[in-house]
Each structure stands twice: as C-alpha cells, then as structure tokens.
Symmetry: C2
Subunit: 210 residues, 2 copies
C-alpha cells in the first residue's frame, strides 16, 4: 500500500556538519509510516523517504539498509514502551500495586499503539545481532524483575525464583495484549474486565504459592 500521493513538502537541506539531523527525521517518518501502513512490509524505503520529504537514496546515508532502519525504529519503540510504563508507576510505592499497574499500563500501551506492538513482539525473529537484550527491551524486563523481587521481599509473592515469575507475568500481559491486537473482531469481553480478571487471578496464584 504505497502512500506516495501524500507528498510532504520537501525538506530543506541541512547545513554542513548537521547531516545527522536527517537521521532523526527519517526515524520519525519511518515510525509514522510503520504505524499508518500495516506492518513492516508496507513500510517501504520509498514511503519513508516521501514522509521525510527526501529522496530514497538519502536514507542510505544514515542507514545501511532497510533492516537497519527497521531495527532503529524498533529500538525507539522499545524505549517508548518502557518509558510509558515507568511513567505510569511513578507515584505508586506498594510493590504489588505497582505490579498490577505495570500490567495495566503495558496492555494499554499495546492497545494504543497496535502497530508498534506488532513490530516489537509479533514480528519475525531477527538475525543474531538483534537480540532483545540490545533493544532496550531488557531494560523493561529488568524493571519488571526488580518489581517482582520487591514483591518477594515484601512477602506478597511466596515464590523464590524471580526470573520465572517475571517471565510468567510478561507472558500473561503479552497474551492479553497480543490477542486483542491481532483479533480485534473477536467478541471479547470488556477489555478492562479482562485485564483485571487475568491480573487478579495470576496475582492470587502467586500469593498462594503451592
């Protein structure tokens, strides 16, 4: 689905030494294209160039190829997700309440930015050097882990393995988010009820460790 028709006013050229300005503008444009078009296959270099008000070859001054650009966009979105979630928790102290709000915020982000969420967590696996660790996703996971450790320390979770508890929680909120994102036509129960039910149930299970 090309969107070549919506040509943006051509960008005026950067001064000498300010060539890197375009890099950010291309990233902005790529994010926009990615969101508006459906999926990373529809994010063509030409569409990105168009959205940035630039010709396609200029992109190659800042990104080696398309994959490189897609990864850079992903890195951005990973950081945005993490920042969004942490921001939602800023005022909450109790670790168990934090855990719950963390889950809610995560799902909310996914529903508010479905295309980003798709690219981050529902796309195809990337080559070796695109490990999640490098993508700031690890930062988000670390935050979750610390939250879980605080819950364990407070005695609110009786399990001892913070890693598996964290991964489990991630799987749970991701499950809700990605089902809602990928099957919007399904007759889901009200979203908030669903999220709360799943988070409550899981939290109860964690509190009553067997």
């Amino acid at each position: 689905v090309g969107r070549r028709n919506s040509v943006v006013a051509r960008r005026s050229r950067a001064r000498r030494g300010e060539g890197d300005l375009l890099r950010d503008e291309i990233l902005d444009a790529a994010s926009r294209v990615l969101i508006e078009s459906g999926g990373e296959h529809a994010m063509s270099m030409r569409a990105v160039a168009d959205a940035a008000g630039v010709t396609p070859p200029s992109i190659y001054m800042h990104f080696a190829d398309k994959i490189d650009l897609v990864y850079a966009v992903c890195e951005r979105h990973f950081c945005e997700l993490d920042a969004y979630v942490e921001d939602a928790l800023a005022d909450i102290d109790d670790p168990m309440l934090r855990l719950r709000e963390r889950g809610r915020a995560y799902v909310r982000f996914g529903l508010d930015h479905p295309e980003q969420y798709r690219v981050l967590f529902m796309g195809h696996q990337a080559p070796e050097d695109y490990t999640p660790e490098k993508m700031g996703q690890m930062a988000g996971f670390q935050h979750l882990r610390e939250n879980v450790e605080a819950c364990i320390a407070a005695g609110a979770i009786t399990a001892t393995d913070a890693t598996i508890v964290s991964v489990g929680l991630w799987a749970v909120v991701h499950g809700v988010t990605s089902l809602l994102v990928s099957k919007p036509g399904f007759p889901w129960p009200p979203v908030d009820e669903l999220i709360d039910h799943v988070l409550d149930t899981h939290a109860r299970g964690l509190a009553a460790e067997g």
Copy 2:
C-alpha cells in the same frame, strides 16, 4: 525468498470432473510453502504453484485470489490445532487435569508449528468476512469453554463467568506460546517449567476466587 529452483515433478492432469483434486493439492503445497518460507508474504502464488507442480494460473481455477488461498490454508490449520489439542485430551476425564493438559498441548502445537501459529494468531487482521467464528477457531474456543464449565460445575473453579475465565486462559497460553515463537533468542527459562509455572499459578488463582 523464492524457492523456484526446487521444481517438483510436474503433476499429471486430472481427468474430467476431477478438477477439484487440484484444490487439495494446492492447499497442501501452500501449507508447505507457508511453513518453509517465513510468513505469508513469502508465500507467493508462484512458489505455491511450483510446489504443487503446476503453473500459477491454475491456482485461479480453485481460489479467487491470494487472500482466498491464505484463508483456506488458515482454516485448515485452525482445524489441525483443535484436533491436535482434543486428541491430547482423549484419555483424561478430570476437568481440571483436562484444562492443564489442554494448555500444555496448545503450547506444544505452537512450538511445533511456529509458522502456522504465526499465521493463525500473530498475523494481520483480516477483512470482515474472515471472522474467527468462521475459521473453526470458534470450535477450539468452544471446547475450552465447555472444559471451563465442567470445572465450575465440579467446584474446582469458583468463578461463575465461564466466558471471561476461558478468554483469560486462552490469553495465558497464547502469551507463553507467542513469546516463545516470536523471540526465540531470548534467554527463556526451560520451556516446560515456564508452562507449568504459568498454568499452575493461574489455576491456583482460579481455584481461590476472591
């Protein structure tokens, strides 16, 4: 990623009135191509035709267009998933044990058939007439729902709303499956431990309804 080089021996033509034979062969070929190539974008009509030992235009005798073919393949895979899960439960009577084994079997199917799983649950939303209800997915969900109702009837689950419990369970197992499928490079804990932990925790939460 074309795979035009692996040309299959050309199929001999069907007798009169047996033209529908090709339909199944195309579906088989399309399934194979979908699994071997990565994702539905890589499943080109030409590759499918090649795999079926036929020329591209013949596909149009049996499927209106590419979308039509992809949907037909999906329908198949939905049925396979459902059949696989039900088969794994054949010998289990206790509804709570059934629920657990259902979850395990679901995840196992996803991990064993990652590309199908991607197409079924991680792809893009389809047009209106491709509702999950029509795709046999509803059949699988109905089976889950009946299982949950049996658990409620047996008093093993204290919740009363079988729908939200079922959707929640689906989200949980889907979360595990799709994370493992989409991020194979992440340092996951051992898969079986993870599945059991998540299922146990959730089941415990369902048993101890607040």
